[in-house]
């Protein structure tokens, strides 16, 4: 059968079935099971109203439990078992996890994922905030916003193709068609190259470490102050931020030192995706490019929601635009920044297509989701594959709990 026709029939059956189900089940409830007539009319109405919500919910609950809740449990079970040759499974305890922890490729994936988790949300949120703040103040801001937002509509695979063209490499004697290499070849090692490729990146990295230090200090200071006002629940978070901050500062300082002494290969076209460690960043740029639009849209709405009078008061007190932005606006939209950050974090944890299409985990660019896909469908090892899926789930869990906690607080 023609798949298009099959699709059409599915739409009709699906939509018709849904409407039919809801309509007839309600009819059955009201007319047959608990009719609002006769001696028990009142009691019947009450009973029908008790059952009706579940009629409305039933298809959704069924789909949710089969497609999302059951797999969580089943994956956990699979990660603790192993397939045996004749079919069936045997319980092996934590063997799969142990085998996985021995694989260097897993640690590579986990390391890369941690790097992604820090860089992508931070960069997307920062760029989004910048774009939101700038576009709110100019007349063509809406156009600018929709252009920056546009990559959201592009598939990860499409984005991978777009950026592969940017990173494309040709042999030395041919003209470069990738713009990154064309720009790279424009640098010849003169004073301008020194400014743009050494001084500027080092300045940026130092500024970045200063920013990290400041944010880390904001988080850690209340614990050291000894005022006893720190909520116990936030201590792990504060410690985590502190440690991650120290690590980032160490990382950027180390890179700065390496860059000063580095002998950059001027005039030689680079295959960007095969340079270890840095190639992960070239992949991250793709995701940052996509997610910035999302961050910008949400943060722009939040910035507009900042009460005018707080800003006016700051102006009257003589604050300059930077002070207004950092001391008045940012603190008031902190909640939204956290939301944007966590949402992008979830996207990062699931990122698969970009790595799959651009490098497929070669040259030390592996990430967890692609590692899992490799295990499940290439190595056909369901045990380790499920175990790595559980690691992804484990990383998501804090955000899951935080979201549920917030949603419940909001409902009360």
């Amino acid at each position: 059968m023609n798949p298009a026709l099959q699709g059409l029939i599915t739409i009709i059956i699906g939509v018709g079935g849904c409407i039919g189900y809801f309509y007839f089940s309600n009819l059955f409830l009201d007319k047959v099971l608990f009719p609002a007539r006769g001696p028990h009319a009142g009691r019947n109405i009450t009973r029908a109203n008790m059952i009706r919500p579940w009629l409305f919910l039933a298809p959704a609950l069924l789909a949710l439990s089969i497609y999302l809740a059951y797999p969580v449990v089943e994956t956990l079970r699979l990660s603790l078992t192993q397939r045996v040759a004749g079919g069936g499974y045997v319980f092996v305890g934590a063997d799969n996890y142990r085998a996985m922890f021995k694989e260097p490729k897993f640690w590579e994936a986990l390391n890369n994922n941690l790097l992604w988790l820090i860089v992508v949300p931070a960069a997307s949120t920062a760029f989004g905030l910048l774009a939101a703040q700038l576009s709110d103040r100019i007349r063509w801001g809406n156009l600018a916003k929709s252009l920056i937002f546009m990559p959201m509509a592009i598939s990860f695979v499409g984005a991978a193709v777009i950026w592969k063209l940017v990173y494309d490499t040709r042999p030395v004697d041919q003209e470069q068609i990738g713009i990154l290499n064309a720009v790279w070849l424009a640098f010849q090692g003169g004073p301008l190259s020194f400014v743009f490729l050494k001084l500027l990146p080092i300045a940026m990295m130092l500024a970045f470490s200063a920013l990290v230090a400041w944010v880390g200090w904001l988080f850690v200071r209340p614990m050291l102050g000894g005022e006893g006002k720190v909520a116990a629940a936030t201590i792990p978070l504060r410690v985590l931020v502190g440690v991650a901050g120290l690590w980032l500062i160490w990382l950027s300082l180390r890179s700065s030192v390496t860059l000063i002494g580095a002998d950059l290969p001027y005039g030689v076209p680079q295959t960007w995706l095969t340079i270890p460690f840095w190639n992960s960043f070239f992949l991250m740029i793709v995701l940052v490019w996509i997610q910035t639009g999302f961050a910008m849209v949400i943060l722009s709405a939040a910035l507009r929601g900042v009460p005018e009078d707080t800003i006016e008061a700051a102006i009257i007190d003589g604050a300059n635009p930077f002070q207004i932005f950092f001391k008045i606006k940012i603190p008031q939209i902190m909640g939204t920044i956290v939301v944007v950050w966590t949402t992008i974090t979830i996207v990062v944890l699931k990122v698969f297509d970009i790595v799959f299409a651009m490098s497929n985990g070669q040259w030390e660019t592996q990430v967890l989701a692609n590692y899992m896909y490799d295990k499940l469908f290439r190595a056909n090892d369901w045990g380790i594959g499920s175990a790595s899926a559980m690691i992804i789930m484990l990383l998501v869990t804090p955000i899951l709990i935080w979201n549920v906690y917030n949603a419940r607080k909001e409902m009360r």
Partner: protein, 380 residues
């Protein structure tokens, strides 16, 4: 500050310039792909897309003289053209790789054996020889030519409308469409009913259910791959459209319910109570009042789900694609092209742009709803 009357910020220009830079940076990669998809293979391979609007001076690879021999005035003459394109202008040419630019156009050059060769500026050449050249090695012509900008829709024709092209995207395009439409429509309906129950009906366990749905919002679908594939195989769905529709429905539901419930809760209570007083049943209220009023939220989710299913690779890889390749979708096709035609940017760029074009149209047409959905959908 520009919110103080009569005082204009000195920062305004800085703002304009930095915003311009940011937009350019964000737009540049996509434009590169778009421009490349309209260039010929030859041009893409020899120059960057940013120089596609300027005339390019480049060395043409050596071309050997060939063609039918004619006898004119007792000499054997071969006439031909160096290239099909008529708008290229040759600035210099030569007959050896050591001196590829030895002669000017229209110059008549003596070759060994009394033969003469001349190349005109438009690429036409004449080889004239006193004896027949049949069976001998004919000379090669090296040339430098200036090619004016040239754009073509040939790439699109080859990829979309050429049924013999193995890299064609036409089938994949329709397959993607077949996956997308049911996978967008069905979850909306299922979710709308559930959202209504969660928003406007009172029953024990409601708060718990809402919390569970918020939790399911972030469950990575990676977890679902193996258990569901196993389940599909056991109940006989196997790999195919039905499986992928069901999977997309399941994965899309938490967001759908969450978005729609948040929107429905905000609808005015009076309308619903009035309808109840007038004797409307819950089913009627839902169909006649809630559903029409929730149109913006429904549209938001529809766009999300459409973009997500259209752009998806992982779910299709796991639940749809079998070894026959009959059901391949565009994302998979592009990944394959990346592997097999990695350097042929005219194929890659065109294929990628075809798959990007539809979501981009949807995006620009319905951006308002997308933004609204994003604002409502991010857990606050």
């Amino acid at each position: 500050m520009d919110n103080i009357v009569g005082k204009k910020s000195t920062l305004t220009w800085a703002v304009h310039i930095s915003m311009g830079l940011l937009v350019a940076l964000w737009l540049f990669p996509t434009i590169g792909l778009f421009v490349s998809s309209f260039r010929t293979a030859d041009q893409i391979a020899t120059s960057g897309w940013w120089s596609s609007l300027s005339t390019q001076e480049r060395q043409v690879p050596a071309i050997r003289v060939e063609g039918a021999e004619q006898q004119i005035d007792g000499r054997f003459v071969i006439e031909g053209r160096l290239f099909e394109a008529t708008n290229a202008v040759i600035s210099a040419w030569g007959t050896s790789s050591r001196e590829p630019e030895a002669y000017a156009p229209d110059q008549v050059v003596e070759l060994e054996g009394g033969a003469t060769l001349s190349v005109a500026a438009d690429g036409a050449y004449v080889l004239s020889s006193p004896a027949t050249t049949e069976g001998t090695r004919l000379p090669r012509i090296f040339s430098s030519a200036a090619t004016p900008p040239e754009f073509t829709t040939e790439n699109y024709r080859a990829i979309l409308f050429d049924p013999r092209n193995v890299d064609g995207m036409a089938k994949a395009f329709f397959n993607t469409l077949t996956v997308t439409i049911p996978a967008t429509i069905i979850p909306i309906l299922v979710a709308a009913f559930a959202a209504y129950a969660l928003a406007w009906m009172d029953f024990p366990g409601r708060a718990l259910l809402i919390a569970a749905i918020v939790g399911l919002l972030v469950v990575p679908l990676q977890l679902a791959l193996i258990p569901l594939l196993k389940l599909h195989n056991e109940i006989g769905i196997g790999k195919g459209y039905l499986g992928v529709w069901l999977a997309h429905t399941g994965f899309g539901l938490p967001l759908a319910i969450y978005l729609l419930r948040n929107y429905m809760v905000g609808l005015p209570r009076d309308i619903i109570e009035c309808a109840k007083v007038d004797g409307a049943s819950d089913f009627q209220i839902f169909i006649k009042i809630i559903l029409p009023l929730s149109f913006p939220a429904l549209a938001s989710f529809a766009i999300f789900q459409f973009l997500w299913t259209w752009n998806d690779l992982l779910v299709a890889l796991v639940f749809l694609l079998d070894s026959s390749g009959e059901t391949t979708v565009m994302t998979k096709q592009i990944v394959e092209l990346l592997g097999t035609r990695g350097g042929n940017w005219e194929v890659l760029a065109t294929a990628a742009f075809i798959s990007i074009a539809v979501p981009l149209c949807v995006f620009f047409a319905m951006q308002k709803y997308l933004v609204r959905g994003l604002l409502a959908g991010s857990v606050k």
